[in-house]
């Protein structure tokens, strides 16, 4: 690989974090709080450009995680930390609870084992309940439901504001986030010298949180990766807010071959999503939706909750899980080269991110690197976008409502554009404000957003005039 020549001395930091997915954002926060100077290197135009931009947004308890696994420990630790910090960060939580629903006698027979496993995993707040009790909790379920495990601790959160809050807290402590910056290679000679598309970076330690490119980044760092990423695509449909009244709880399937893990789930924004599928693919960048699959999801939702049949589809999307050839997390610490890889965070990373960050800090302590004094927690809050708390449009003097479907105000959009980490692309604006995310998908507001974001994005909404 040819090295780019730079005139200025490379920037230096204690810890370089590769990747600003939810894991990288949580790691940046944890290390900044521990007194480290942190640089986050992110290839995308904005944070959350990989797996973290499209998930089911469930804050899991770990009731169904593999017993005794690191994943179980970190999901529980991550959830616990989320519960203790969310209020201070302005993050909300929708305490829906989940129902693992059995639709056949065979499935019903398996519920006791699922509940038993959950208790063994340390999740006590769950019970097997009969059909009458299930339908009392969720009258909209199809009458064929036999029984369920009620897991009261499964909650729903805003999957984009949470990582944004973590990384904003890191920024407030002096961390840097280099977006549009690709890690090209790295070499350890007592210190890390990283070559990025933005120049050199000297770091005491490096933490690989590159998600779908975890193995690739290990290789770029000259570390032999001990795993191979096998992307697993998950497609979703999002139903209009009218669906929410029919789906007060997360409806989980009994794991089996047919359902493939498709969930019916309220979102924190007042919609209902149906998905994800689980489709192995080689491509790590394209997460396409397919018409037949989307129709299958709509039918599936309508079968389990009949009232969903007629409710319009608001959005469709797909995400790629950074799976590997094994089911578990692929976390490695290399003391001799002061490198930590947080790899293969496949399907629970949103829940486990804060736990993974704690774990990374513990692994880092073995490197014996001195850090500055731990920082006081900076007062950082992110705007509430969920229906669980009042929104900006309900407060006076918001200017005007720009996105009518999601009720996004001009003040919210201007604040996001002027914030400490302004969106780098349209997706970033949508994730920070919800503008354009609603049922019309921009029929009413897209042009206005194009106008308000002129000159802001690498890929602008409006094209420049020719000539």
């Amino acid at each position: 690989m040819t090295r780019t020549t730079r005139t200025s001395a490379p920037h230096s930091c204690d810890v370089a974090v590769i990747g600003a997915g939810v894991v990288g954002c949580a790691v940046a926060r944890r290390f900044a709080l521990a007194g480290a100077s942190v640089v986050v290197v992110e290839r995308g135009a904005d944070i959350l450009s990989g797996a973290s931009k499209a998930n089911s947004a469930i804050l899991h308890t770990g009731f169904d995680a593999p017993p005794g696994s690191l994943e179980l420990d970190l999901v529980k630790a991550g959830r616990e930390e989320y519960l203790s910090i969310h209020r201070d960060l302005g993050l909300s939580i929708v305490k829906t609870g989940a129902l693992v629903c059995a639709w056949t006698d065979a499935e019903a027979d398996g519920l006791a084992a699922i509940a038993g496993q959950g208790r063994e995993n340390g999740i006590a707040d769950l019970d097997v309940i009969d059909a009458t009790a299930v339908r009392a909790l969720m009258p909209g379920l199809a009458p064929e439901v036999r029984a369920a495990v009620e897991v009261r601790g499964e909650h729903v959160i805003d999957p984009w504001s949470a990582p944004l809050a973590y990384v904003t807290q890191a920024l407030a402590l002096g961390a840097k986030v280099w977006r549009g910056c690709e890690l090209l290679s790295g070499r350890f000679d007592g210190d890390w010298l990283l070559d990025t598309s933005r120049g050199g970076l000297r770091a005491g330690a490096v933490i690989n949180a590159a998600g779908l490119f975890g193995d690739d980044v290990d290789r770029r760092l000259g570390l032999a990766p001990d795993f191979t990423i096998r992307p697993r695509k998950g497609q979703f449909i999002v139903l209009d807010k009218a669906a929410a009244r029919h789906v007060p709880k997360i409806v989980l399937p009994v794991p089996n071959e047919i359902t493939k893990g498709v969930v019916i789930c309220p979102t924190a924004f007042g919609n209902v999503l149906v998905g994800p599928t689980a489709e192995e693919q080689d491509d790590r960048t394209r997460a396409t939706v397919e018409t037949a699959t989307l129709e299958m999801l709509r039918d599936h939702g309508g079968r389990l909750v009949p009232a969903l049949r007629d409710i319009p589809v608001t959005a469709v999307y797909a995400g790629l899980r950074p799976g590997t050839e094994k089911k578990h997390y692929r976390v490695t610490a290399r003391t001799e080269s002061r490198a930590i890889t947080l790899g293969g965070i496949r399907s629970t990373g949103l829940s486990a991110a804060l736990g993974l960050a704690q774990h990374a800090l513990r692994l880092f302590e073995a490197f014996g690197m001195p850090l500055g004094p731990p920082a006081a927690i900076p007062p950082v809050t992110v705007p509430n976008l969920t229906e669980a708390e009042p929104r900006d449009w309900q407060r006076p003097d918001h200017g005007e409502i720009v996105c009518h479907c999601e009720m996004v105000t001009r003040r919210e959009i201007e604040a996001a554009l002027a914030g400490p980490l302004p969106p780098g692309d349209f997706g970033g604006l949508r994730r920070r404000t919800r503008a354009g995310m609603g049922r019309c998908q921009g029929f009413y507001c897209n042009a206005r957003l194009a106008e308000m974001t002129r000159g802001r994005f690498r890929v602008p909404l409006a094209v420049e005039p020719e000539g």
Partner: protein, 406 residues
Amino acid sequence: MSDHDVIVVGGGPAGVAAALALRAEGVGRVAIVDREPVLGGATRHCAHSPFGMREFGRVYLGAAYGRRLERDARAAGITVLTGHSVTGLGDDGTLSVAHPGGVGTLSADRVVLATGAREMPRSARMLPGDRPVGILTTGALQSYVAFHGLMPFRRPVILGSELVTLSAVLTCLTHGARPVAVLETGPVPLARAPLRWFPGVMGVPFRTGVGIVDIIGRDRVEAVRIRRGGQEEVLDCDGLLLTGRFTPEAALLWQAGHGVDRGSGGPLIDQTGRTANPRYFAAGNLLRPVETGGWAFREGRAIGRALAADLRRAPSAATTVPVAVEGPVKLVVPNIIRRGERPAAGFDRFQLRFLRPCKGTLALVIDGRPAHRLSGSWLPERRVLMPMPTAVCQADSIRFEFREDR
């Protein structure tokens, strides 16, 4: 006591016409509430389309038509509340409203819903592929041009063949964009005559029977993969323009749990223009996608007049009989009949639409007896009108049957 006799939600042609008719009938306190900064609704961005010939005896373009509506509304003593978004419909006629000063409520003895229709986005059409920047509807494109002097692409592929598609092609051509092709998934163009020759004359290929199998583009649309007669082809482009496939802007109905008709996507609506809740009326494109601005205006006016008569009585307590449709008949308006009440001035005819091109005989069957027949061949998205005999108001069963010619 309510703040208003009637509040009209939506200040497009239908809403303004309803409000004007109410004032003309002597109703005192009438308000129009619209979430946009000015009235006009969807006509505001149709810069090249003439509006107003039938209603005002002269032609207005785009925003000028909305200004005329607003001027007439104010001159008629109607309270115009722009920048006010209705967020909830109370059963008793209390509306939740958000405006720049915060939130509040308004109340009225009757409410007219005239929130219009919009084109279906990519998601609701369940189109496959990537989700890059550059996939828009005609309404959004025209807003780029009319309100901000911007363009979202230079070489779009255009999907659809309705009247609005012509408008989309024109908007592109007059603003420095050169469409790569106009594609229709069905076997024939939906707006027949002009689409046969229009794009060709403009040098834009028009093709029917085309399916989109992939939208390709990491950041911005780069290409669309299409299939036609078993052959696949990749069309390079920088945008995808989705035209037509209108759907009523029925969010408030869904949210309030009011009845939404499966066929039209709009409200349940009776012969007088009342919804399932007799305090609520509806008019314009909210009833059914999609009509012209002129039609929406006339419909709004008729419903405004019917409402003025209804206002002199307590809200109707009559039972309703559904108007059923079958087979390829997509929708009918009105889709419920309130028993024992004659059509005052609301609808004098049934409006129907087909789901697919078809040829045959359509029959209105009242209490098992055919009351009216119409033979012909129809295309989807075209209005079909049938007389509404007064007998429907006493019927126990009303349905439209369709016998297809083989």
